[in-house]
Symmetry: D2
Subunit: 304 residues, 4 copies
């Protein structure tokens, strides 16, 4: 197990100088700062948007491989977070936009013992609001293909700012590797978040993070994938949502064919009656849709 | 309680001659036939698409009111259903479409005692597949505004072919009333269905149905709404999914403001961290997105 | 040549009682009222939206045929028209919407001798504005398939409210026939209009209209088509624009294959380098895209 | 006037080492290679996608300025070019995709004296096809914001692979400057192209190019703009087309307000009746829509 204390942060996922080389199979404990660059001590040590910790060079990872990252532990490491309100103009009818009040910052208290979030300055209507923490990472990924450096505001095949409330501890994510060492980076912790990130934030805060990497040699995937105790899932990042659905569904079909031995007729029958879609985000430059299949259904499949 | 035995079916929601007048508050027991017109005896007695039972003229319902319909009981009334496979071409990447096999019908056995569905002619990969029934109505609604008669293939403010797996027994739906008597009709039972109806069907079958109507006088809504034990929800029907999200979210904001006394800043804070979106269908001419809010969260709101 | 004086108007395209039976090949002279129901005398004789003259029962027209309608003459028959401003909220970035001023009506003077439009109450910046008239019909079509009656606010395979500035005199439009007699209706004259109808109107006014019908027996098309002296074109009506492009392009490919003897590889080569797309409207419930091919290019094709 | 002979090419627009520093106001004569890396001698000297000549460091250009680039001369410098066929799967109805034949390369002869393109291996249907050359640049732009390096396959606020048939000689384009020196690069010459680049290419070939740069100090724009003898225009790059329209229209409104002294009500009136939209591309990862206003209309505006 390695401990890594970041001293600089990146606002793009790209071919940056690695901050650390980590062996295949290694576990790393580190920290991330919030989307506006604030750390656990309230110091602003990084710049917007979404400053990431890393990149980490994962030994053995080469283009065409897949990088598996298990989120072992994700937890806020300070007692405050922030959101914005109202909902973003792109998630309401265009004619309703003028009714939205000006955008304002909302401060939250994070009770790390009780694992709850409450408003720091509650308004009358929400005075009793107390929400359970479900810490997740909004932004992580690898260096993209073609020598690109892509802003941590957006996402793509390489991961990035997917802002999906399902990227919690216990999940293993799979990312395509485009450059030697993969160059994995992570950040943008949310103490909790609704579907779609429709106010443009989860409860943004700094995190302590533990993750474990594993290289799947010679395994090539097209889009991020993941699994937890109950589901396997695929991720599509694009606009509009329709296209994000297309990427996620196609990636799921490829998975079912390659690893579960189904043909496309069988995969259609299975997905048609059992698929679940989650709306990751409908705020960032690329939207995110998740295509999920319950493991209990997969258990019924006769693998070849 | 009224029992109604249909003798004709409609393929549009519109200003048709009512088949029955029902008092406000009344409960109706009736049957529906499947999407291709087959009844519980295997006889084809209606024509495609989605032949509906009704319309029912609900006394007291006038334009500007809201019609509440509680689905008391929904159950297949025969032992077979059908789906199609593979997934629809619009839910995969355009370049992947040529890999899809030809569209074919899949027959299912419905075990109404065990409440399971199994393939009538199982293929090797899916031989052990057994899925729990979750009967739902794919298509229901009222006569639309402006003298229109709209095909039961599609949906809109008036409801219609929303194909959302959440329209199960126990749900109360709310529909805007555009014409005297509302002219409610229903059909297109699915023994179960995945998110998005991505093969173009749930497990299509005929149903026995019990529902109860209630007129909310002077209550005006813009889009279908609903609630069950755990959630309140709103429905947006449009293409692309982005626009369906806009309708559903705007309708939810209007609900929170009018009935829960929140302002738009508070409503944004609440939805931002607690909203859940379901993908109703991404197959029909209008797609359907559902915007949900947990009742346990609403319980914390101090109503004025 | 028949003269028809309308006494009622319809707000849906559907299976209405025909106002007149017209022989195949006949020419009709009639009038239309503006989008808000005002006639040439300033009397409001119809209701919103887009009250249409008709429907006309065209003898010989049967489902599966195509109805050709040549717009022989289109001209405003009064000296005023109206538009709205500012641009619609859906055509600007969502975050820009709050900057738009309130919607207001703008009155225009139509000089029918000089064929120009000027502002009735010019603002300082636009005091010198004088625009040439290019009269067009915003809304026309036939009764749709499946017994539907569809609002004249929107459009589809049957035509409808396409609001394309190219539907001017001299154009022949082709419409699929879904019901006996086709039931053609027309209205929503615009003295002129920009691409996209981005303020929600052209210069709305009442018209005198002359058109000639012709039935193409046994010729089946999927979407509206048209031609003028310089182009053949196809029309796609849907949201988002991407889907409207798909319908229009697919319909053009079908035309090139069936009537010009090209294969899909040749049709691709031709369209790829020579196609022109016009943005009909991006305001109505269904948007409209036009796919055009110059006749001078078609002249080079060796028909089989 | 400077002559520059490229020896290397870039596949991203980003913070690359400049190949040349050019004074504000200078004219440069250089060459570009085709989208697959082939130069005028038939040698492959660059790699896919769209290898660009440059970047050029323009003296005086600083973040917040605008870079004006006039395309003085654009011409193929060899006698061949290539396209692909059939049309891309995303521009036809999803259900039509399986009918498309396999993608194939099509070779063209470019007659630089007569300024025509003909098929090198004409098929029967297109044997007589001869098209006039209208040489344009498919891809050019500046280094994007935020330290990004973005693939020349796509486009954004910084320009990039817009593939608009209107970027011909005589046009002046305006680009936002995000980094010192702007870092302008260009390539992807098309001997001609239809709207939308629906086969994924124009007639791809190598070019000789002459352009002149000018820095507009303190002038800040949001998206690429341009003008030719007849129009001013703005460019939106995004998916879906609807969003590209939003960016282009908003940018045009900002232009009319800032430089022509109109208010938003006047700008709406003007655009509503006079705007023209061109479909740049509907093939690349970001689509491109152009919003145009005729200069003859602008001539009527009373500037303050």
């Amino acid at each position: 197990m390695l401990r890594f204390q970041p001293i600089c942060y990146h606002n793009t996922l790209g071919p940056h100088e690695p901050v650390l080389r980590i062996p295949n199979g290694e576990t790393v404990i580190t920290t991330t700062i919030d989307a506006h660059g604030m750390d656990q001590h309230g110091n602003v040590v990084g710049s917007r948007p979404n400053p990431l910790t890393g990149p980490f060079y994962v030994e053995d990872a080469a283009p065409g491989d897949t990088l598996a990252v298990r989120f072992d532990h994700l937890a806020p490491n300070r007692d405050t977070g922030f959101t914005y309100t109202p909902v973003a103009p792109n998630v309401v009818e265009p004619g309703f936009v003028p009714e939205l009040p000006p955008r304002q910052r909302v401060l939250w208290r994070l009770d790390r013992e009780r694992q709850t979030a409450t408003l720091a300055e509650p308004t009358p209507g929400l005075a009793a609001l107390s929400l359970p923490l479900t810490p997740l990472l909004g932004c992580f990924g690898v260096a993209p293909a073609g020598g690109q450096a892509i802003s941590t505001m957006t996402s793509g095949e390489h991961g990035g700012n997917m802002d999906y409330r399902g990227f919690v501890a216990g999940v293993t994510v799979y990312l395509p590797v485009f450059v030697p060492g993969a160059l994995f980076a992570l950040g943008d912790g949310h103490a909790m978040q609704g579907d779609g990130e429709i106010v443009g934030t989860g409860i943004e805060t700094s995190f302590e993070v533990q993750f474990t990497v594993r290289v799947l040699k010679g395994k090539t995937i097209g889009w991020p994938r993941g699994e937890d105790a109950d589901y396997i899932f695929t991720v599509g990042n694009a606009r509009p949502l329709d296209q994000a659905v297309q990427h996620a569904t196609t990636e799921m079909l490829r998975w079912l064919i390659a690893d579960y031995g189904l043909n496309l007729a069988e995969a259609g029958t299975l997905l048609g009656q059992c698929v679940v879609y989650d709306l990751g985000n409908i705020y960032d430059p690329a939207y995110t849709m998740i295509c999920k299949l319950p493991k209990r259904v997969l258990a019924a499949i006769a693998r070849p």
